[in-house]
């Protein structure tokens, strides 16, 4: 057990350093952060009419997080394993005694770091509401935290899909589709249709698996431990799938 933990930690350190460097050594992270912030700003100010709400809180801002994560985070995670396959370095990794679990966690943490940096750069939104009024900063901080955890869940999905397919484009498309299903499952329009067609019981079950439903309580500034555990569970499940799909290459590869 101790050896397993040490090996995993070694793998995390090795791949985290490499991947963070890869994100920031190329324009990828900077372009991602810039476009994400621009769009988030546009949706918050224009689409949600931030100044017309008359309330000093960030709910028009947080509302867009799941939707933008759904589109953008797979772009961040698509390269994590597909790039290794395309460049042949997957073969190098599989020939080494490093822990695949460690590598998978390290890669996820690296992408998550880029997401965290992006969230930090949204601070002008927070400054604005504090300038305009007297918001509940504890609630805002909590929503930020849950948004960060939710970003990890989107990235874990994208990273695992990237391990399943060898092409970045495919990894992105499948990543977005899976993320869309998990996000839109909680959308009132989808939930209404599902409940209408299959009964309210099924609608409730679908809602239970939705990112939107679990982020909603946090959007109101309420820490629901169940929602936190849900996102952690999603991350653990997809990291496990990631490890399984990478390890599977040993027996299935050509």
């Amino acid at each position: 057990m101790k050896h397993w933990a040490l090996d995993t930690l070694t793998g995390i350190r090795a791949s985290y350093g490499r991947e963070v460097r890869a994100y920031f050594a190329t324009p990828l992270a900077y372009v991602f952060i810039a476009i994400f912030l621009m769009l988030l700003g546009f949706f918050t100010w224009e689409a949600s009419r931030f100044f017309d709400t008359g309330a000093a809180d960030l709910s028009p801002f947080f509302y867009w997080h799941p939707w933008l994560y759904m589109i953008f985070l797979p772009a961040l995670s698509m390269r994590l394993w597909a790039d290794e396959s395309a460049g042949g370095t997957a073969e190098l990794l599989l020939s080494m005694p490093v822990s695949i679990t460690g590598l998978a966690i390290g890669k996820l943490l690296a992408a998550w770091t880029v997401a965290a940096v992006t969230l930090v750069f949204t601070f002008p939104m927070w400054l604005t509401v504090n300038y305009l009024g007297d918001p509940d900063n504890a609630a805002i901080l909590l929503t930020y935290f849950m948004s960060f955890v939710m970003a990890g869940a989107y990235l874990a999905i994208g990273a695992a899909v990237s391990a399943l397919v060898n092409s970045q484009v495919l990894a992105y498309v499948i990543g977005v589709v899976v993320a869309f299903v998990l996000t839109a499952a909680g959308w009132p329009m989808v939930l209404g249709a599902v409940s209408g067609a299959l009964g309210p019981g099924i609608g409730d079950i679908v809602a239970k698996f939705s990112f939107l439903t679990h982020f909603e309580t946090a959007e109101r500034g309420v820490l629901e431990f169940r929602a936190f555990l849900y996102f952690l569970g999603v991350i653990a499940l997809w990291v496990a799938l990631n490890v399984l799909w990478v390890s599977h290459r040993r027996s299935a590869a050509r």
Partner: protein, 242 residues
Amino acid sequence: MLELKQLAKSFGDHKAVQSVSFKLDKGEVLGFLGPNGAGKSTTMRMVAGVIEPDQGDVTIAGHSIVSARRHAQRQLGYLPEGAPLYVDMTPVEFLRFMTAAQCMPRSARKPAIERVIADSRIANVAHRRIGNLSKGYRRRVGLAGALLHDPDVLVLDEPTDGLDPIQKRAVRALIARMAPDKAILISTHTLEEVPAMCNRAIIIDRGRVVADGTPESLSRQYPGGLEETFITVAGSPEADVA
């Protein structure tokens, strides 16, 4: 140091490797020859633990690649075909990553990087982006990565492929320097290199070992030397003879 026992691997109906067995001792440099598609790379990938054999086993310094893969891999240095590298890194960054991925103790990492940079003669490009390096330098960076943890067994898939004569000579000299302390398995398409680099050669065809001996003894089997032996024992009609 390295033993392959009844190693077999199929991809669908295609039997890529069929019951390959041989032993390699310390000091032996084995040239692994065969036409394209003969099963050389598949065998080497099984030895390196990249793919699992359908049957058989490989032991590296006493550790089974099937039942104790990580222990076996710690004793192995592997240069895959084409020497894949992270092109956005510099050689020093790449080697630093490799020391971590090889699970080397922290205190041993820096001296190991300095040693392989000197041995592989890449000091002058150590801080340049790998993507901007020539094929020869890239191959040497890959080789440096395989040597970092001073493994007992080296598996090098076409280490001189695409190199100019000067670079080939440098790689051959490096292999010759390491040879006394290690068991080295090298695949190559260039038959002329075999007598200069290897003290043993195995020819594989359609997944089976068809000849095993010293380069001299194989050269004597047929008039025309090693090339004639190669073409005769491995020159099946469908084989694309390199």
